[in-house]
Symmetry: C2
Subunit: 495 residues, 2 copies
């Protein structure tokens, strides 16, 4: 059957894609369970859409507005229509909400976890397939929905073991920025976009860099020049004053912002919304050590229409150059009242946030310390020393499983030494050994691999240890399950 193997493909993955082994999968599963139980405690229900959507349903909502419709994996269906893999979980929700609008409970509250795909240049830690865990409410105009997103994010991060003080949920309102731009007469769509982009670079360029981008433009280290918004100095002062209005005291921020928006109706509306969110957060018991108001949060996406939310981790890590920086954003979102309207023509208020699961897991690994996650505990391994005894080994392994003990039969073709090595590599707690002597005596030998590992670390004199072999014991065959259970219950197996 393998006659035509003249062509031998190279075994390799496409760029920017990953294989995830047991440790990764288990760490992610554990985090997902925790997030899910928090989402569910808030009344959200699971939903899954498929990987593909019609390209026109996804729309031009990619973060990089310069290249609409690029950045996705798209292909033509048999009927010539263009399909694309979802690049986030928000666009499919908008399509679904429009398609099933009449049948859905209103508001419709769902969570969804899954991979999304972006056909962008991969880099260290940047993949073309990555995971998001979204929570959204469709059909709720009330700020209570947005306040709840702040709460559910804070609760999820704390449930994951991130201490209060090591994270911060930052909230702003697009309407306020619009109001500020109105008051300075810089609210045409083009100028607005340049200003949004400039603000989005605050983290990277600092206030001075943003000031240049708001004014004449900025030349970077490599000599490239980015055109600015050409605002006048007093206009720039108003924008930077807005950006700097963040404070631990949410009510104080609201006051400062009200001054900045002047008489702009949309600006005042935005401030009133933040005040409403503040009252709800306070009633829910969420203090400024959990959720703050920060006007410098704008979010890259163009589609937000009201509150925007970002969760960032504030503990310090070293960047590529060895400099200490804050870990940064792990979740974000906001209100997108227009997105369902694209399909239905009527306005359907909606708001949601998305956790970037890969970044979050990287953060959790860092918080656990520099050391890698402990390898998951493997199964008990029953060695196969005598192939003619396969049925006897099979009976042992099945006895262990039936007793609720994870167990496997060694299925390779190697000798005893390699089999014990295999059990070690599998992180097995116990190896079950039965050769001719054991069968003759009606016994099995149990090797405690965790204790053995400790002893071989403790005892320098390996020769002496080999003779003692305190980690090894013979027990009657009939006591197999009880004896294995006893070893598993020992203290050193708790880790």
């Amino acid at each position: 059957m393998s006659k035509d193997t003249e062509f031998r493909p190279k075994a390799r993955k496409p760029r920017g894609l990953r294989d995830q082994f047991a440790g990764d999968v288990l760490a992610r599963r554990q985090a997902l369970e925790i997030i899910r139980s928090v989402y569910e405690s808030y009344g959200f229900e699971p939903l899954e859409t498929s990987a593909f959507e019609y390209a026109d349903a996804l729309g031009k909502f990619l973060p990089d507005a310069d290249r609409p419709n690029e950045g996705v994996f798209a292909l033509q269906d048999d009927d010539e229509q263009w399909l694309a893999l979802r690049y986030d979980l928000t666009a499919p929700l908008a399509r679904l909400a429009a398609e099933h609008f009449d049948a859905l409970p209103k508001p419709f509250r769902r969570y969804q976890f899954g991979p999304v795909w972006r056909n962008e240049k991969p880099g260290p830690g940047r993949f073309r397939e990555f995971f998001q865990f979204d929570v959204d409410t469709v059909g709720a105009a009330t700020m209570a929905a947005d306040a709840e997103l702040c709460m559910v994010l804070a609760d999820a991060l704390e449930a994951l073991g991130i201490a209060r003080g090591d994270y911060r949920v930052r909230v702003n309102n697009r309407k306020i920025l619009t109001g500020v731009l109105e008051t300075i007469g810089a609210d045409d769509a083009h100028t607005r976009l340049i200003i949004l982009r400039a603000i989005d670079k605050l983290d990277r360029l600092g206030m001075e860099g943003v000031r240049l981008l708001l004014g004449p433009g900025r030349e970077d280290e490599s000599g490239d020049f980015t055109k600015g918004a050409n605002l006048a100095p007093e206009q720039i002062a108003r924008v930077t004053g807005f950006l700097a209005a963040g404070d631990a005291d949410r009510a104080k921020v609201c006051g400062a912002l009200r001054d900045l928006v002047g008489a702009s109706p949309i600006g005042l509306e935005g401030v009133a919304e933040l005040q409403e969110i503040d009252a709800l957060l306070t009633a829910g018991g969420f203090g400024p050590d959990q959720v703050v108001f920060d006007p410098s949060v704008v979010r890259g996406l163009d589609y937000y229409t009201g509150p925007v939310i970002e969760a960032e981790l504030t503990f310090e890590v070293h960047d590529e150059t060895g400099r200490k920086v804050q870990f940064g954003s792990v979740a974000g979102g906001g209100r997108y009242d227009d997105l369902v309207q694209r399909f239905r023509g009527v306005l359907v208020p909606a708001t949601g946030v998305s956790i970037g699961v890969d970044r979050l897991l990287a953060a959790l690994a860092l918080l656990r310390g520099a050391k890698p996650a402990p390898a998951p505990r493997g199964p008990v391994v029953v060695l196969m020393l005598d192939k003619t005894r396969a049925a006897d080994y099979q009976a042992m392994v099945m006895e262990l499983r039936r007793a609720g003990i994870r167990a496997e039969l060694y299925l390779g073709g190697s000798g005893m030494r390699a089999q014990v090595k295999y059990a070690d590599k599998r992180n097995a707690p116990v190896a079950v050994i039965a050769g001719g002597d054991e069968f003759a005596a009606g016994e099995v030998t149990l090797k405690d691999l965790v204790l053995g590992d400790q002893l071989s670390k403790d005892i320098k004199d390996n020769a002496a240890w080999r003779e003692d072999q305190p980690a090894q014991q013979a027990v009657p065959r009939a006591n197999l399950v009880a004896a294995v259970r006893e070893i598993l219950a020992r203290e050193h197996h708790q880790g």
Copy 2:
């Protein structure tokens, strides 16, 4: 921001794709947890590969060998290389095993769950995205690996609540068929393929139909003619004798097969392998009411090299025409020793099975009875009757969550009647109601929606019921959590 909505895309899914709502997602999650715990008890570990592979790495192993490289979703990467979404979880495992061969424990035992994509014509119950749950051992030549697959499948089906007798794991060995074809001189590749396909249609056409396809060919009801293998009557008799050799007694099947393969070395090898599997199954305690040997199992895929396995559900259901039929196959697989060799040039023995999760879930739903799965219990819903009291409602809902009770605040804009309706649609157990009277009295009203539902079914005289409202009670605000907990603990809430 919604100025340019002149183009209004239709909200619809591409053909053959699904949205899965809470009930579906929860039912699948529950089944997956059970299967996973069985897989893990056997020592298998999780693995996840990405959705894409290089098309050449996937190879031409689609079930429909007439259209190699068709049937997948493929697209060209920026560097012109062809990528394709995985159409199963076996091909990516072969690529991964070849790529990481030196680093992997040998044998390498993994399970993987996930969507696969086939660009085929969708139909009722046939989707272009569907879910598989695979378990494989790479690097094990021993039949103990294949025997284990039979056991893990039987254990998984029973753990899912499928009674012994309602399922059957059927096992065959490709080598035996090869041996039979050798003995009758019909083992050239072309004839072999025609015969394999004929056998694969046994379920649908019956023995007489297969006999025609092995001989001169067959005309179907519509007048279409399928060419046959043109075997002579005595050759056909040998093949149909082979197909009919299945029996509840595994040893008896082995005996009959040995007679049928004559002196063919590969045939005898295949029979010896089945005998080995029989001994291991018996040692593991798996009787003929769980695993049988059935030569009519061939599996459609061309790449199997030894034992092939199929799990079928034997209880009867009605087909589209109202006829009673057995539910059929929900899992299958076998040994594919050549698949990793494609990449590495050296033979790497491997064997695995795949559960078709969507079909399995359909079967579980049927077993539960014709009635749909009970809607998952929703959260407690706190109504928002007075928007100026939003903070008070927020405090209530958060108090419930902090006490471990799933709860949500009503976030829509409707009046009380619609809010209670919403709570019903959400399958909420309790609605928390607080209007002006309650706030004045320092109370909340709790509406037991489960009891209310029962009462409204029991009591014909709705007018009388409305006056009594036994499902509704006022409690002091301070007792909110305790009183809700009491309602949730009531017997009628157990369902």
